[in-house]
Amino acid sequence: MSQQTSVLYDVPGPRQRRITLITSVITSVVLLVGAYFLIYRPLDDKGQFTMELWGPLVDPSNENFTQVWERIGLGFRHTLTAAALAIVASLAVGTLLAVLRIQLKSLTRRRFSGLATPLAYLLRGLSALLSVVTRVCVEVFRGLPVVLTIFFVARGFPEFGISFDSLWYLVIGLTIYNSVVIAEILRSGMEGLPGGQAEAAAAIGLAPMQTTRMILLPQAFRIMLPALISQLVVVLKDTSLGFIISYEETLNIGKQLIGVLNNPIQVYLVIAVLFIAVNYSLSKLAQYLQRRLSRGRKTAGIPAQNLPSAALTSQAEGAGGN
C-alpha cells in the first residue's frame, strides 16, 4: 500500500515533516487518552483486570491453568482438524467442479457434426442441461450462508438415515460451500488465461481434457494460489461455526470454560488472539506469494489488479459467518 498511497502526497520537506511529527504526537496522545477513558477505565471499573478472571488463563501457578490450556489446546486441534479436512476436500471437489464446468462449456459449443442429426441434438441438449444444472448448483450454494449449509447438513442428513459425528457434518457443510467458491476461483483463472494457450494445445493435438489437465489447470493454480490461501483463512474462520452443531472446536470449548470460570471477556480475548495470529500469518503468506508471482514470469495473462479483488471477494464472502 505504501508506494501506492504515498503518491497522494509529496515527499515531505522539513516543514511538512515537522507538521507530521507534531500531529503524530498529538494524535498519539489523544488516542492513548481516549483508550484510557473509553476502554481501560470501563473495564477496570467492572473489575475485568483482576487475577480472579485472568488467572486461569495467564498465571501458570493457578490451579486451573493447566486444565484450561489443555482444553483450549484440544479445541484448537479440533479446529485445525476440521479446517484441514475441509480445505483438502474443498480443493478436490472444487477442482473437479471447475474442470467439469469448463468441459461442459466447451461441449455445449460443439456441434457433434459427425453424428446423425437426432443424436447430435440429443448430445447438445444433454450437455446444455448439465451445464445449467451445475451452474444452478454453484449459484445456490454460493448464495447460501455457510451457517445454514452446515445446519441443513446436520439436520438434513439424519432425515435420510445418514448420521455421522458432528465433525463430519461441519466438514461436509464447509466443503459444499468452499468447493463451489474454489471452483469459481479456478474457473476464472482458467478462463483468464490467454486464448493462445488453449489454441496452441489444440494445435499440437491435445484433447480438450488433456488441455485442461496439462495446460490450463496448472497455470490457473499458480495464478490463483494467493486467492486459494485466502480461502484457507476463510475455512479456518468458518470452523468456528461448529458450535451450532455441538462440535467441540476452540470457541465451543471457550463457551464451556466460561460456564465455569465466568470470564467471557478474557476467554474470548484469548481465543481471538489465537485466531488472529494464525490467520494473520496465512494472510501474510498469501501476500508474499502474490508479490513473488507478480515479480515472476508474466506467462499468466491475468491483469495484476484483478488478483487482490478476487482474493478480497472470496475472503469477504467466506467472512466467518457466511
Binding site: 503518491v7 502526497y9 445454514l148 441443513f152 438434513g156 485466531f275 490467520n279 478480497l312 467472512a319
Partner: protein, 235 residues
C-alpha cells in the same frame, strides 16, 4: 410442502427482519469502513497504524468470535448498547413487545466485522487509480485533501463498486449468524424454530429459508457480474 403456505407469514416476517438488519448493518459498515479507509491512507503514522490494526484484527477473526464478544462480553461489562437507541432504529428493536439488547449486539458485531472488508474494498479502489493521476494532481499543487476529493476518490469509486457489492453480499450471508445469537425472528432463527421446536418437516422449511436468502444474494451477484463485465470492456 404445506408449511410453506401455512407459515408464509413467518417466512415473510423472517425475510423482512433479515432485510432490515442487513440494511442497517450495511449503512453502518459503509460509514465505519470509509472512516477506517481514510485512517489507513492518511499521512499521520499513528492514525495509519490504528486503521491497519483495525483491519488486521477484524479480518482475521471469525465473525462468530465478534458475535460472542458483542452478545456475551458487552453484557458482562454492564452495557446494553443503549447508545444505539436512535428513534427510528429503536422501533425495530422492540420486537415481541419486549426490548432485548440482542438485536443491537448483533448489529454492532456485523458492522465492526464488515467495516474491515469495506475498508479493504475502498482501498483496492484507490489503488486501482493510476499513480499518474495523483502525481499530476500534486504537480498542479493540490493538497492531500484536494487530491483525494477532486481526483482520486471520484475515480476510485468506480473501481470500488464491485468489491463493495461482494462485501455486502457476504454481509447478507453473514447476517444468518444473528439468529444463533439471540435475535428472534430472522430467517435463520426461523429455520431453527420451525424444525426443532415446532416439529415441521425439515426439507420444505430448508427450501423456504434458502429461497429467502437466495432472493437477496443471487440477483445482487448477477448485477455485480454485469457491472464487472461492463467495466472490463470500458477499460
Amino acid at each position: 410442502m404445506n408449511v410453506l403456505i401455512d407459515k408464509f407469514d413467518v417466512f415473510a416476517g423472517g425475510f423482512w427482519l433479515t432485510l432490515q438488519i442487513c440494511f442497517l448493518a450495511a449503512i453502518g459498515a459503509l460509514v465505519l469502513g470509509a472512516i477506517v479507509a481514510v485512517l489507513r491512507i492518511s499521512p499521520v503514522p499513528p492514525l495509519r497504524a490504528v486503521g491497519t490494526g483495525y483491519v488486521n484484527v477484524f479480518r482475521n477473526m471469525p465473525l462468530t468470535v465478534v458475535m460472542f464478544f458483542a452478545a456475551f462480553g458487552l453484557p458482562a461489562l454492564g452495557s446494553n448498547a443503549d447508545f444505539l437507541r436512535i428513534p427510528v432504529v429503536d422501533s425495530l428493536f422492540r420486537r415481541l413487545g419486549t426490548d432485548l439488547p440482542y438485536f443491537r449486539f448483533a448489529l454492532i458485531a456485523l458492522v465492526l466485522y464488515t467495516a474491515a472488508f469495506v475498508c479493504e474494498a475502498l482501498r483496492s479502489g484507490v489503488n486501482a487509480v493510476p499513480a499518474g493521476q495523483a502525481e499530476a494532481a500534486r504537480s498542479i499543487g493540490l493538497t492531500f485533501g484536494q487530491n483525494l476529493r477532486y481526483v482520486v476518490l471520484p475515480q476510485s469509486w468506480k473501481a470500488s463498486v464491485v468489491p463493495l457489492g461482494s462485501v455486502i453480499i457476504a454481509m447478507i450471508k453473514n447476517s444468518a449468524l444473528v439468529g444463533f445469537f439471540g435475535v428472534v425472528g430472522d430467517l435463520s432463527q426461523t429455520a431453527d424454530q420451525l424444525t426443532s421446536a415446532e416439529g415441521y418437516a425439515f426439507i420444505p422449511v430448508a427450501v423456504g429459508i434458502s429461497i429467502g436468502y437466495l432472493i437477496m444474494t443471487v440477483p445482487l451477484g448477477a448485477l455485480l457480474n454485469r457491472l464487472e463485465k461492463r467495466q472490463a470492456v470500458a477499460r
